[in-house]
Amino acid sequence: MEMKSLNDIEIIDSVIKGNSSDYALLINKYKNKAFSMLVRMLKNQMDAEEVLQDCFIKAYNSLENFKKQSKFSTWFYRIVYNTALTKLYATKRKIENEMASIDDLFFLESEYTTDLAEQKDTSLFIKSMIEKLPANYSAVINLFYLENMSCEEISEIMESSVTNVKVMLHRSRNMLRTILEKNNYVEEIL
């Protein structure tokens, strides 16, 4: 039997009508990318999985309030982003660092000078640095590169200005490039 592929709105309509098992389609569609974003924001896989479960349940409970003018992904990622921030705040991590202002990214530069020599693979090195970006910068990188979202959509999710999102994106790239340059990856990367 050929399985008809449903779009997000059709799935939501079906779930609202009472076919709650159809919600699995939405979960399977978004779980890994949302999980990646949460792991990078919270820096902990167990917390990320727990938060993601809560997010899917929150979304399920609020499905009837979802206004179909915007995309489900935007709406869902807003839940994920806000829940992650709440978790960060609740676990009393240093939110000042996590929600750092633009200049605070420089602390990462000093952090990576010590263990860089051990990392030979540039790609792996960049990936390891992304894992350590502050929460909001990680969120921007994930949404932009994993979800292929526009800066406008990301600004809607983060309830921030488009300019601010672009600044975070550009600063992240600049910072990564600067670290690579400082640590003699220049020849390889350029």
Binding site: S20, K31, N32, Q45, Y89, F144, K166, L169, R173, L176
Partner: protein
Amino acid sequence: MNDIDDEKLNQFIDGDINSNDLKNLKEKLKYSEAGRKRLSGLQNIHNELKKISIFETSINFTEVILSRIEQKVKTKKKDKIFIISIFSIFILLCLMIVGYLSYYIISEPSNTAVLTQKVNYYINILLKFSENSKDLFSPKNISIFGSMVSFCLFVAIYTLYTEQKFVRKRLRQ
């Protein structure tokens, strides 16, 4: 002189640059090796970021959520049934009392006076109680109690408001 700023280079990578700026940038890049290197570096970072890895949730992640949802739906149904049952019992009791009183009044109309007497009796008891406890509920005590409650409410609301404001401010920075 290094007059190519990173902002423009990033805009160029994102295709977010207007035609005039693009023309200027291309012109500057022709004569700036350092600028070309910086652009190349950013381009490489951009390409590496496109290959960012995806983490996978545990195998039974979907099932866990669905079972949690199912459990919640069941609990909600149970709660609904419980509330309906309590409400039904209450309505039934009210109906029984009204029925009994109606029957009592209709069957023995002469007893209306007795009923009134009984009602008056209970009202008197209530009045006596309020008279005895007039010291406790004196205007002075009531105003002190009211002021305390108002003060507590005011402090609680103000604390909640400032806390929320602080959190929002932090989160939006």
